[in-house]
C-alpha cells in the first residue's frame, strides 16, 4: 500500500477524490483500521459542516417522500460484500467510457485467445446480444466481466492479478437482491484469466471477487477485492 493512499481519508470524506482515487481508496480503507476510523471521524466532522448550513426543504416535500417510500422496497440486511456494494452504490456510478471498455475487453480477449483455447467461449459471451459488461474495480490489475442472461454464461477476462499463496484462488460472486451467490474459483495463469462458464443463478446487481481456498467457499470469508455494479 502506498503511503499516499493512507492520506486520502479527508478528501474521501468530503467526496473530493477523483473517481479513480475514490475506487482505490474504497478498496483500501475498509481493510485498514486506521483509515476506517479516520473516515468515520471525518464523516462526523463533515456532518457538522452540513448542519451548519441547514435549510428547510419545501413544505410539500415530506408528503412526496412519504408517498414514495410507501411504494419502495427496502434492501435486505447486509452481508459484508453487500455492505461494501451499498457504500459504492451511494457513491454514484463510476461510468467508464463504454467504448473504451469494450475495446479493452476485446483487446484483452484477443490477446489471451492466442494462448488459451477457453477464449472462444469468452468471445461468444462477449458477442451475445444481451451481454452486460462490468468493470470490476480493485487495487491491482484489470478485471472485466461479461454476463449474458440469454446464454446463462459469464466470461471473465483479467490481467495483472497479484499472485496468491498456494491453495488460494480468486472466487467470483454474484451479488443480487437477496445476498451473495457463489460462482467458481477462477483459473489464473501468470496473473491473467480468460474463462467463460455457466453463470450462477440470480439476477446480478453486481459481481465481486474474494480470495478463497481453491475448492471455493459457500460464502465469502475474506473482504471483497474487486467489485463492479451491473
Amino acid at each position: 500500500m502506498s503511503s499516499d493512499l493512507h492520506h486520502l481519508g479527508a478528501a474521501y470524506a468530503l467526496n473530493a477524490l477523483e473517481p479513480h482515487e475514490r475506487r482505490s481508496y474504497e478498496g483500501h480503507y475498509p481493510t485498514c483500521d486506521i483509515c476506517a476510523a479516520e473516515v468515520s471521524a471525518f464523516r462526523e466532522t463533515a456532518a457538522e459542516l452540513a448542519a451548519a448550513v441547514a435549510a428547510e426543504p419545501p413544505t410539500d416535500l415530506k408528503a412526496a417522500v412519504m408517498a414514495e417510500i410507501g411504494s419502495t422496497r427496502q434492501m435486505s440486511p447486509s452481508t459484508s460484500p453487500r455492505d461494501e456494494l451499498a457504500a459504492r452504490r451511494r457513491m454514484g456510478r463510476a461510468l467508464p467510457a463504454v467504448a473504451a471498455l469494450i475495446a479493452l475487453v476485446v483487446g484483452l480477449a484477443a490477446g489471451l485467445l492466442l494462448q488459451r483455447d477457453s477464449g472462444s467461449g469468452v468471445d461468444s459471451v462477449l458477442a451475445a446480444d444481451d451481454a452486460v459488461l462490468v468493470d470490476l474495480a480493485g487495487e491491482a490489475g484489470t478485471v472485466l466481466l461479461a454476463w449474458s442472461a440469454d446464454r446463462g454464461e459469464v466470461a471473465v477476462v483479467a490481467t495483472g492479478l497479484p499472485e496468491l499463496a498456494s491453495g488460494l484462488g480468486y472466487q467470483l460472486w454474484l451479488i443480487d437482491d437477496d445476498g451473495v451467490v457463489p460462482s467458481r474459483v477462477l483459473e489464473v495463469s501468470s496473473g491473467a484469466v480468460s474463462a467463460a462458464f455457466g453463470a450462477p443463478e440470480g439476477v446480478p446487481l453486481a459481481w465481486g471477487i474474494t480470495v478463497e481456498p481453491l475448492a471455493g467457499s459457500n460464502e465469502p470469508t475474506t473482504p471483497v477485492l474487486y467489485v463492479g455494479e451491473v
Binding site: 473530493a16 477523483e18 471521524a41 448550513v53 419502495t72
Partner: protein
C-alpha cells in the same frame, strides 16, 4: 483538549442514541420512525444539498432522492461505523456532488468558464462563512488558516475535487490535498467529534 465540544454533552448523546434507535426502526420498515427521522434531519440534508447544487428545484429533487435512498438502505445501517447524522450527511453530500458532476461532465469546460467559476466559488465560500448559523462550527472554521478554510469549503460546500480545488486556487495538487487534510483534521479536533467511533 476539546474547547468547542457541545456544552450539552449528555443531551447530545441522548439525541444521538435516539437517532440510532430511529434508524434501526426505519430499517425494520417503520414509517412512523422514518417520519420522525425526516423531521430531525431534513434541514441538514436540504441545506447541504442546496449549498452544493444551488438551484432550489434541483436541490428539492435530490433531497427527496436522498430520503428515499435512506429508507431503501436503512436495513444496512451499521451503528458501529458512524452516527445516523454522519451516515445521512454522507449520502446527501455525495448525491449532490454526483448531480453537479454529471451535469458538468456533459459540458466542455473552457478555461474561461473555469475563470468565472473561480470568482463565483470564492464568493460562495465567503457567503457560507457569513451565513453559518451554528456558531460552534463557524468558530471552528475561523480557527483554520484562511488557506485551509478556503480549501475545505471549496471541497465540501463547492463540491469540488481536490484537483479542481488546486486549479481554482492556482496551487499544486499536493498543496491542495495537504490543505484539505490539515484543515479537516483541525476541524475534527476543534469540534470534538466522537472519538469512540
Amino acid at each position: 483538549m476539546r474547547p468547542l465540544r457541545r456544552a450539552r454533552g449528555a443531551a447530545v448523546v441522548d439525541v444521538a442514541d435516539d437517532e440510532v434507535s430511529l434508524v434501526l426502526r426505519v430499517g425494520r420498515g417503520d414509517e412512523q420512525a422514518f417520519s420522525q427521522l425526516y423531521d430531525l434531519l431534513a434541514s441538514m440534508v436540504h441545506g447541504v444539498v442546496l449549498r452544493v447544487i444551488r438551484d432550489p428545484e434541483q436541490a428539492a429533487e435530490v433531497t427527496q432522492e436522498v430520503f428515499v435512498e435512506i429508507w431503501r438502505i436503512a436495513p444496512r445501517y451499521d451503528q458501529h461505523r458512524g452516527s445516523p447524522r454522519a451516515w445521512v450527511a454522507t449520502i446527501a453530500h455525495r448525491r449532490a456532488v454526483d448531480r453537479v458532476r454529471s451535469e458538468e461532465a456533459s459540458r466542455t469546460r473552457e478555461s474561461a468558464d473555469a475563470r468565472i467559476a473561480v470568482i463565483d466559488v470564492r464568493d460562495t465560500a465567503e457567503e457560507v462563512t457569513d451565513r453559518l448559523d451554528v456558531a460552534r462550527v463557524g468558530h471552528a472554521l475561523r480557527a483554520l488558516s484562511e488557506k485551509q478554510r478556503e480549501a475545505v469549503e471549496l471541497a465540501y460546500y463547492g463540491g469540488r475535487t481536490h484537483r479542481e480545488v488546486a486549479t481554482l486556487l492556482e496551487i499544486p495538487e499536493g498543496t491542495a490535498k495537504t490543505r484539505i487534510r490539515d484543515g479537516l483534521i483541525r476541524l475534527r479536533d476543534l469540534l470534538g467529534v466522537d472519538d469512540e467511533l
